[in-house]
């Protein structure tokens, strides 16, 4: 049975991924940078992975700080 356990935030460049990583960690939201899953984008850089239960808090934080991102996707494992 498939279940959702993590969520990734796609961004336009590694600089933005690092910027989001710093901002999330400062807000107490754990995250890691991982290579962009190929089924989500042909980009060769990184995206930000968070636990799915932090998704709502993360979206709110991104909206507040106005850091641009390209999309948020749940990873099915």
């Amino acid at each position: 049975m498939k279940s959702t356990s993590s969520t990734v935030i796609l961004v336009c460049s590694t600089s933005y991924a690092l910027h989001i990583e710093k901002t999330l960690k400062d807000s107490g939201i754990p995250c890691t940078l991982i290579p962009v899953p190929r089924h989500l984008s042909s980009d060769c850089g990184v995206c930000v992975r968070i636990a799915s239960h932090c998704k709502a808090k993360t979206i709110k934080m991104l909206e507040t700080t106005k850091i641009p991102f390209e999309g948020i996707f749940d990873l099915i494992q």
């Binding site: 336009c12 460049s13 590694t14 600089s15 991982i34 962009v36 641009p68």
Partner: protein
Amino acid sequence: MVNFINFVGANPGRSGHRRAVAAGRIVYDTRRAVAELVGADDPLRIIFTYNVTHALNLCLHGLLAPGDHVITSSMEHNSVMRPLRMLEKKGVKLSIVRCANNGSLEPSAVEALIGTGTKLVVLNHASNVTGTLLPIKAVGAICRKHNLLFLVDTAQTAGCYPIAMQSDCIDLLAFTGHKALHGPMGTGGLVIGGRVDEKSLNPLLQGGTGSNSQYEEQPDFLPDALEAGTVNAVGLAGLAAGINWINDIGLETIRSHEEHLTKLLIEGLTGIGGVTVYGDHCAADRTATVSFTIEHIPVSEIGLKLDEEFGILCRVGLHCAPMAHKTLETFPHGTVRFGFSSFNTEDEVEKAIAAVKELSAGVL
């Protein structure tokens, strides 16, 4: 830098593996360090370049088009003057505020030159010849009043004199890493303030950014829009280390020490017969850069003797700033320039004064 070379070595932003991310993090942390030092809001609006000349060219060539009017001062380095002269040939209108013969600038003289087509004012924060600080806060306020952009060349001040982009009303700030920021050569950048529409800046270079790789056109977001090609990540690691060192020591402590040495030097030099010190003599109004001449001795000879006989290293001549020397009335021969850093000592200043005294006594 050693850590980067030995244990990272990857290209920042060009892949997703751990070393590429580590390299990206080093570059990102350097952006944050620069942003914090100059009071910039957004670290991603910092464009890394190879020096301040590169950053100034990026800004001037990227922003100005034929028909635009730009105002600068007569105390500028050729890193500003040469691109402006090139742009002038292409139809950009250039006005140069004549500074006083001590290098000082009256803000109202800038305002008097503002016209309907004026787009930009560009000034150095401090002269590389005399160390004279220009009144950037007052000029910045004038630029805001007339809705102009304000570019400041901080080659002589970043790292040794307080800079606050917001309260100084600076829209674009060019810096170099290898001077008072204590980074290596090959580092510098342009900080782009929030009032500047990044789409109004044309890139000097187009190319790979590691982002939007599916497109053959340059990305339109910062920093990638203006930062094509691999950055000097190992150098930027050194720049971050330099800024961290400044933060550890404290900018005010550095400034206080340099001001003290400058005061000692100026007092010592002005007491020697035949020696002329250029610029305002008040150490509080200048950086730790002091230009002087000795009557009847060519500056090149002074420089050679200081090196060979006293082990004192200095720069003589025009310092890549011919119009500044015309302003100071020292063109075409130039001056002898001493420049201090936070590592210099009172003892070294006293030895420098004694050496100049000895050289001067030899011809009197």
